[in-house]
Amino acid sequence: MSRVDRGSAPDALIDRDSPLRFTFNGRTYTGYRGDTLASALLANGISLTGRSFKYHRPRGIQGAGYEEPATLVQLSGGEDATNWPVTRVPLSAGLAASSVNCWPSPDFDVGAIAQVFSRLLPAGFYYKTFMWPNWHLFEPAIRRAAGLGRAPTSEPDHLRYETRFHHCDVLVIGAGPAGLMAALAAGRSGARVLLVDDDTAIGGRLHADGDLVDGRPASDWLKDIAAALEATGTVRCLSDATAWAHHEHNFVMVTERGPCPAHVFQRTWRVRARQVVIATGAIERPMVFANNDRPGVMLASAACCYVNRYAVRPGKSTVVFTNNDSAWHAAFDLHAAGIAVRGLVDVRPQIPASLLKRASSAGIVVHTGAVVQEALGGRHLRAVRIASRGDGRKTTIDCDLLCTSGGWNPTVHLYSQSRGRLRYDPNLAAFVPGEARQGTIPAGSANGAFGLGSCLAEGRDAGHAAAERCGFAPAATDLPVVSDPAYRIEAYWGVESFGSVKKAFVDIQNDVTVSDLELAVREGFGAVEHAKRYTTAGMGVDQGKTGNVNAIGLLAALNGDDPGAVGTTTFRPPYVPVEFGAVAGHRPGSLLLPYRHTPMTRWHKERGAVMYEAGARWRRPGFYPRAGETMEQAVTREAAAVRNGLGIYDGSPLGKFDIRGPDAVKLLDFVYTNDWDDLGPDRGRYGIMLSDDGLILDDGVTFKLADDHYLMTTSTANADMVYRMLEGLLQTDRPDWRVAVTPVTEHWANATVCGPTAREFMRTVGTDIDLDGDDFPFMSMRVGRVANLPARMFRVSYTGELSFEINVPAGGGLQLWESLIEAGQAFSITPIGSEANHLLRVEKGFLSPGHEVDGTADPYDLGLGWIVSGNKPDFIGKRALEIRRASGGPRRELVGLLTADPHEIVPEGSPITPDGRKEASEGFVSACVMSVARGRSVALALLRDGRARIGQTVSIRVKKDVVRAAVTKPVFYDPAGERLRS
């Protein structure tokens, strides 16, 4: 193992006394507690860790945190997961990981053949090649070949996730130097603070950079500040918790891995904060040059982190390639850790004297005004070729590690998601936060303040400002003493790779090269959002954390523009990949929107009913198949039972509203098209509701219980919408009306018995209600007892047969149902589902929301002109209805259709066109069933000028055919309604 020997100096974050065994691609290795999978692999000398996405090129580890673009791993075993950056997998005993995107191993990868053909796979290749006949034909195969990891195969609910809401005054994102000071300053001022950090230990870059704070190792200072935060009593700290979305009104999503208690795998915090301090740090940019993806090429900041934090030497001899001061300090740290620094290559001709002096005293050879042209080696870096930018002189230096730094990008993802503006700072060659759009304060490196001293100061000031905005007086907070070296940079985007035949990568993860960007610009996709989609730069799992700004810089160079003018692409959540479970939390599967059940649901299911979605999240029996029965046979049997004998169905989901108050009639007169002032007690009336555009919203029967008391029923699917409308009307438009609406749908269970023998049957059930037709006529109601339960009985009919709707308080629903079923045995009572109900209503031409009432029909279209009152000065929809009628244009009207072939069932929604030609439709089939009353298929349709065309023939287009049908009146059974009134 290649660990740095620190002598007696302790390691802060790795425990050399706790070795952990793990496997990677099937081989067993050992690391230490506190390692990541990446640091442990590097300590074991493993530099080839994966294969690339498109070309299957060998790849190593390039980063040390979430920015890692090159190596993604699949985890198996208890915590099945995929596409994790190797750098963010904490090492645990027995961890089993493998590289994604290669088979069988990164050393011998079958897909590597793609490298040979790579010249044939330029940007936009798939779009250009697989256009005809249809991209979607090719997409699945292409996705399979290109895919990253595979979806976990363990049970979906194998791991426990939970979500919780959290409210605080100040949310501080990032526990580096800036975030810690912000949390301390805000907490001491009295604000309730939540501090979240995506690392397993607070401190951020302090662990990686090896700085001294107050003259002591940073780890000592961190212990003090952790104690100070604890002492405030108002700061809560979450480690290993990543803020990944910043929405409106400072709503921030944070997912915590490995929270307490241990049985919870991840917990997502939905945080609502009054102020947010964004102290998310900065991410280093790699340099762009030929073969800059070879294993052994690494970010300077990452190499520094491996040395200082994990005591791992990522190589034996290194070259450092940079355009800024920070990589020089990295080089000095590598040198101090015993790595031979073979050369320091800086694109800048002039280097500050202090850096040159330190390099010279360390014996490091400096190449100023030079670039690395190419990394040499295949599966492992062997050497680098450098060239002077002045005279072009080339030199080759042997090394197994190349550390690059193209400068630092403030991590502005969350700030940008919060709609904060970004601006390009030419002095930093980076995009930095501009004007904020919410209560968000960027601080420290995230704000472009890269020095440790300025991070600490900005953090404290941001904490004070946030607390003050929340109404707290800032409490004095001292800053520790640190050295604060300058950060100077000269923008360099890798333009010397233009025209290179060797691959110089911009987006390592998505295999996007400089020549891809050149092609995009040549072909007219040079705008940043176009180039992103054309080349897929920045569209990987890492969302271009390392590559995006280089791509912007290169586009600027190609377009002859300034990076600020090119601008950034849109930063979108999530900042890091998030498991679906972490979003769903406790609510996997259909629990997300729970179904509503009637008291009889269990009975239906136990009888083998096939359950249907009935709208408004109700589930109803569709049909009750008997052994060996097809759906069609079951539905026909159920419908025939109603026509010839006795059926029963569960009508509980029907929308029911209790309307009470002296202005109840006023309300009914306003929302329904017909008149309500003359309705007698215990009588019901059918009504249709319009919206103010004159189109039908819903229909239903309303009963009068007393002068100031009505019961309104609505369709199941529209009940919630009708309630919303009624409440909105009464609360905001007519607040002076003295009437209240109470939804009582769930308060009543409803069993409806229907069929020619219904009255005879009801007499045997035991009721004190007089069932005689003269005493209890159609469209009336009675209150009494049924099967020893208090009940309301209604005579309405949606099947066209004699029907009794029995409503009892929901608690008695099952008792009622079972009593009726038991008593009904003598009558061969048949439970029917919504399929049979549909069949029966189509035979009668009754309307159904979603079929005939489709949001485009008015009452006249559906033959309901008789229900529109001419007596009322106003009702909802009246004016629009009048205007539409006055215009006189042809309308689609409800008709019946009889297909030429009596066995033909036409799919719902089939268009009717002139002579069956492929042209604009003149209507559509709204429903088609095999009628039990007529022994043939019957259909309802909305047809242009339909009523005038009764007797004519129309043509319906079905899949590959045209079906002829005769137009009829929209009623196929008992047109006089004698049976339902009987």
Partner: protein, 90 residues
């Protein structure tokens, strides 16, 4: 997800509410006195500014109150619009 100020319950999560859409003015008391054009305009033209917009919201999964607020469609800045018993926009 927005924070919606309910006049009765205070600041609550958007998922508790139903947005009733833009609200320009009360429904005309006597529609028959309007010209056809004015009525069609009232029914079909909904305000859609890039900026402040008065909306009706319903605290469906809370107290059940319908109320008005002003939301900036560009910034999501929300200004409550209610005074006391009267829920008409100020």
């Amino acid at each position: 997800m927005l924070t919606i100020p309910c006049p009765w319950c205070g600041d609550r999560h958007e998922s508790e509410f139903f947005c009733g859409g833009a609200y320009e003015k009360a429904r005309p008391a006597r529609p028959e006195t309007l010209s056809d054009e004015a009525w069609v305009d009232y029914v079909t033209v909904s305000p859609n500014p890039a900026g402040p917009l008065v909306e009706r919201w319903w605290h469906q999964r809370g107290c059940g109150l319908w109320f008005f607020l002003e939301r900036d469609t560009l910034t999501h800045d929300i200004r409550p619009l209610f005074d006391g018993e009267d829920h008409e926009p100020r």
